[in-house]
């Protein structure tokens, strides 16, 4: 028996509107059709009507979870266009906030993964910890989510000694707590059993479908813009690119946990080596006609902004590519032949940020559709195919 189930646009597993249309046979998904556009707001057109400064606040509101990433990516590009360089202290504070945001985003993701797997206690614990980093961000910037720290030529708020100490303390608390809680998570067999072997994406598929971020890194691809194309401070900071080879949701979890630890390290390095001086330089109002490609490793993967100026106060074109969009073809691949029960997990595993992806795009994809009458031999072939696609390998190890 085959029937269609719609997931979304309003669905408890998705905090944001997107529509997934699944063709299922029993509990097995045979076909996936993604329909976006529910969150499309037309931001790129809007950006052409705003000034350079106004656009910082616009790009910040592309997404609430990675708001600093988009703003930073944009500001990096505009600084190159205007040929100014932020002062060292300003850059350090900017990327400190960026790393804190990565911590908040990854903790959020872990909680969501727990929730999608029906492990609400894990969700509650990680989100309780997340409040620590939210407090730190609030102390630095004055707001919990849209920090508005960036300005063209630096940042808008300085840190003092007391705050630096508080942040270091906070990171220490976070580190011990995350280690403790992740140990709990690793020892819960139902949880690990739910994650291992789910949502398989082989390395070759990940390359072909241009996957980015932790999704690609969990398939064994060492791609991290912070290392490949180090912007501003990242060539001074020691850190490792985290990868896993298991190609499944467990691998993606492991990658994110390792990245959390790396982020704690980066934050500590940035705070301990915080140079003295100004935090911002004055920026001109206009930019010469030019074009620039700005890349930034957001928590979900590579953010890329293409900015073109035409000598006026407004950009000629601002093109935003958010990481989630790049991961959609991979998601469709992962969902096929999975179980209904795994839809939320697989979908959550790319850490979908639909609002990012949809500032301008929609897509409809993957359709075979035709009904088939199956004979027993075909059924066996199908089963074999399914097991080929879904190897239950569990060689991803928890980092503790």
């Amino acid at each position: 028996m085959k029937f269609n189930i719609p997931i979304g646009p309003q669905h408890p597993a998705l905090k944001e509107p997107i529509s997934l249309r699944m063709t299922v046979e029993g509990e097995v998904i045979r076909d996936v059709d993604i329909r976006l556009g529910y969150n499309h707001r037309g931001l790129e057109k809007l950006a052409e009507e705003r000034s350079w400064i106004q656009n910082i606040y616009l790009t910040e509101r592309i997404c609430g979870i990675c708001s600093h990433s988009h703003a930073t990516c944009y500001v990096q590009g505009v600084e190159k266009l205007m040929e100014i360089e932020p002062p060292k202290r300003g850059a350090y504070i900017r990327y400190l906030v960026a790393e804190l945001e990565r911590i908040h985003s990854h903790l959020l993701w872990l909680g969501v993964a727990g929730h999608e797997a029906g492990f609400d206690s894990f969700f509650m614990y990680t989100w309780r910890d997340r409040e620590v980093v939210m407090d730190l961000l609030e102390m630095i910037s004055g707001n919990r989510v849209h920090y508005a720290m960036n300005t063209i030529g630096g940042v808008r708020r300085d840190l003092d000694e007391a705050l630096v100490k508080k942040i270091l303390d906070g990171i220490q608390i976070l580190r011990t707590r995350s280690e403790f809680y992740f140990k709990i998570g690793a020892n819960e067999p139902t949880f690990v059993g739910r994650l291992a072997g789910v949502g398989y994406l082989s390395k070759q598929q990940a390359i072909d479908l241009c996957a980015v971020g932790p999704t690609a890194r969990a398939s064994g691809i060492t791609a991290d813009v912070r290392k490949d194309d180090p912007h501003a401070v990242y060539d001074e900071v020691p850190f490792d690119v985290c990868t896993a080879d298991s190609c499944d949701v467990l691998g993606r979890t492991v990658v994110r946990i390792k990245e959390l630890m790396e982020s704690y390290k980066i934050c500590e390095f940035l705070l301990k080596n915080l140079p003295a001086g100004e935090i911002a330089v004055k920026a001109p109002k206009r930019a010469k006609p030019n074009e620039v490609v700005s890349r930034y490793e957001a928590p979900r993967g590579e953010n890329i902004h293409y900015i073109k100026s035409n000598g006026t106060e407004k950009p000629e074109r601002l093109k935003v590519r958010a990481p989630t969009l790049a991961n959609y073809p991979a998601t469709i691949q992962m969902l096929k032949n999975g179980f209904i029960a795994d839809i939320p997990l697989i979908f959550a595993a790319i850490d979908p940020c639909i609002c990012c992806a949809e500032r301008t795009v929609e897509l409809v994809n993957a359709r075979t559709g035709e009904d088939r009458v199956l004979r027993f031999s075909q059924l066996r072939a199908l089963a074999a195919e399914r097991y080929k696609n879904l190897p239950m390998q569990r060689n991803a190890v928890w980092p503790f």
């Binding site: 189930i5 597993a13 819960e188 939320p344």
Partner: protein, 323 residues
């Protein structure tokens, strides 16, 4: 007089009213324990310590608009909550709670009542399935099929686990089983394995995490109850709560020595023992994550069923060698 007494039994204690009050209390207890285990406060501001929260939920749902979807089978859709409620209330009457004539024997007590109770507890599963199926909503239908799939998993281990103490006690009557274990409390120990198997199976029967697959909200929205609203949902919630009380009462009666002591002490015994069982169920709910429906079936046939057989073997050996 006898008629009046029967009506009293049916409506007040241990019938409708008592089960309503006690099941709402149990829901509160469950929610509170769950919340405290998650570092939260749980219901706090409704009544003292939030005790009245489930009652408020019930009355709110009763006062809400009742929507019946156009495509649904209207008669079935409307009847199911009432029938389900009636079934679990009947099951509640079978518990060996206080009654005047035969102390500790229950309102209705006869040899074989444990079997009847087990079957009455199987019926809600069918009600859930029909509820999902008659809604004609894709999510409800998947929820309904999941209900049935799970039934194949946990039902047999549950029966075997619950019946092995009965075999040891050599009786099919709950009051007598309880009496037997009260007389020989040491014999509770060999049944420990069965107790935990029964706990897990009851958790699955009640569709709570890790077995909340039929209404896994992140996967299939509200599952079987997606289309239910207002009064019908209120009845279903009450039904689940009473089912929780009755099945924990069953486990307590069979494994923990029943509820002796007449009206006062017997009630206290009942409350303490059921809360003990419910605490375990809440613990299980807080500590695990939802598993897949195929994992449920393979888990119960790979682990639960063999262990239940082992339990049966232990019981038979003890019975043959020691008694």
């Amino acid at each position: 007089m006898a008629v009046l007494k029967t009506i009293l039994y049916l409506v007040v204690y241990p019938g409708l009213l008592f089960l309503f009050v006690y099941s709402t209390f149990c829901e509160w207890f469950d929610r509170k324990v769950y919340a405290r285990l998650q570092n939260r406060m749980g219901p706090t501001h409704t009544g003292r310590w939030g005790l009245l929260q489930p009652v408020a939920d019930f009355f709110k749902l009763m006062s809400k608009e009742d929507v019946v979807p156009d495509k649904a089978d209207k008669t079935l859709f409307t009847l199911l909550p009432i029938v389900g409620l009636a079934i679990v209330l009947t099951a509640g009457l079978l518990l060996p709670l206080w009654s005047v004539g035969d102390a500790g024997a229950g309102m209705v007590s006869f040899p074989g009542d444990i079997i009847v109770l087990l079957y009455l507890l199987s019926l809600p599963t069918l009600i859930f399935f029909l509820a999902g199926w008659s809604s004609t909503n894709a999510f409800s239908e998947i929820g309904g099929t999941r209900v049935l799939t799970m039934l194949f998993g946990y039902e047999v281990p549950l029966f075997m686990a619950v019946l092995s103490p009965a075999i040891l006690a050599d009786s099919w009557r709950m009051a007598e089983i309880a009496q037997f274990y009260r007389d020989k409390p040491l014999l509770i120990l060999p049944n420990l394995l069965g107790f935990f198997i029964a706990l897990i199976c009851v958790q699955a029967k009640l569709e709570r995490t890790p077995f909340d697959i039929p209404h896994a909200e992140t996967e299939i929205v509200g599952g079987t109850f997606t289309e239910y609203s207002g009064k019908k949902l209120a009845f279903f919630r009450l039904m689940t709560d009473i089912e929780l009380v009755v099945s924990s009462g069953l486990v307590a009666a069979v494994f923990l020595g029943g509820f002796p002591g007449g009206i006062g002490l017997g009630l206290l015994n009942f409350i303490l023992k059921t809360l003990f069982v419910i605490f375990f169920l809440s613990l299980l709910r807080a500590m695990t994550s939802r598993i897949r429906v195929d994992q449920v079936v393979s888990f119960s046939w790979k682990y639960l069923a063999p262990l239940a057989v082992l339990q049966l073997l232990i019981v038979i050996l003890i019975k043959g060698l020691l008694l």
